[in-house]
């Protein structure tokens, strides 16, 4: 994967994450689970920010930023707090894999960005009930 391809792939991942968090955020009840609501809101803001950063990074790399799809499949029906939490966790786990791939395909500032995003996402997974792993983002290990 070229650095530009890695940037575009990661941007595509952020589009999906933003969409899913939008759905979760629309359904999670702050009164039913205030902690989850806060975590979801924070994650939504973070992924939106990354989406915007990556859009710039793609342009700097000479590419035309990939656009978001009209809609995305959401990992769970998101009807209960457990389903909402699970959808968030799956989203972060997918992002972890994408960031790890980006580390491998980039260098310098872009690689640093991906290194930081991966560490942040791994910690975020814990908040959504995910288990600690030895190699977050590298399921083959």
């Amino acid at each position: 994967m070229t650095p530009l391809e890695a940037l575009q792939t990661t941007l595509a991942g952020e589009h999906a994450a933003v969409y899913v968090y939008g759905v979760i955020g629309g359904r999670v009840s702050a009164s039913a689970d205030p902690a989850l609501a806060r975590l979801v809101a924070a994650a939504y803001v973070t992924h939106r920010g990354r989406r915007d950063q990556l859009t710039s990074m793609v342009r700097v790399a000479g590419g035309d930023p990939v656009a978001a799809d009209v809609s995305y499949q959401v990992p769970t029906p998101c009807r209960t707090t457990d389903e909402q939490r699970r959808a968030a966790l799956v989203t972060e786990q997918r992002c972890a894999q994408v960031y790890a791939a980006m580390v491998g395909a980039t260098s310098q500032a872009n690689r640093q960005w991906a290194i930081d995003a991966l560490a942040d996402t791994a910690v975020r997974e814990l908040g959504f009930g995910g288990p600690a792993e030895a190699f977050p983002g590298a399921p083959e290990l």
Partner: protein, 197 residues
């Protein structure tokens, strides 16, 4: 739970990492045998000075030191064994993976690297506690010391990932740094051992 020396995909981890750093690293310094097609190697670089192998050795040493501290802490504070068993497994897996990338001429793994996380206390007692590991007598401080070690490992992992020449190796180092970041959070979430509930 996959065995320590194979990945969930069934591939020996040695193969996974060997493909990343070039089989020259695994063959020690002998360099005998045909080089597989596609493995390029800078002409004047020996295994000992390959910067990625040096990086692997550095991170490996840090992971082994962390393992020593974790095991010494489990020994000194048996009530912390359950809390620390996951942490131990993480760093054991890190050390095993990195050990495949470091030639035999590099500093040998610490004797405290026992074959399984459930090594008996007497075995780890005789092997592990070198003069450098001082475990705080207070269990909360002992946990905090390990959390601080995780912070250092995350930093080292991130820096190493940034400077790694091999993209695939950089990726693995970044995942290891992320794992330590998780452990730092988890260990700090623990209620103070012995605190009244």
């Amino acid at each position: 739970m996959p065995s320590p020396d194979s990945s969930p995909a069934g591939l020996p981890r040695r193969t996974v990492l060997g493909g990343l750093l070039g089989l020259a690293a695994l063959a020690g310094c002998t360099g005998t045998g045909p080089r597989p097609a596609g493995i390029r190697r800078p002409a004047a670089t020996s295994t000992a000075t390959d910067p990625d192998v040096v990086l692997a050795a550095t991170v490996l040493a840090a992971e082994q030191a962390a393992l020593e501290r974790i095991r010494a802490t489990m020994l000194r504070h048996p009530q912390l064994r359950r809390v620390l068993s996951g942490t131990e497994q993480v760093h054991d897996q890190h050390a095993r993976l990195l050990a495949h990338a470091v030639p035999t001429s590099a500093p040998s793994p610490s004797p405290s690297t026992s074959p399984s996380p459930s090594a008996s206390p007497s075995a780890s007692a005789s092997a592990s506690t070198g003069p450098t590991v001082r475990v705080p007598p207070d269990p909360a401080r002992a946990l905090a010391a390990i959390a601080a070690t995780e912070d250092e490992l995350t930093l080292l992992g991130r820096r190493s990932s940034f400077s790694a020449q091999s993209g695939a190796f950089a990726r693995i180092l970044a995942t290891m740094a992320a794992a330590s970041a998780q452990q730092a959070v988890l260990l700090r979430r623990q209620p103070a051992p012995g605190a009244r509930r």
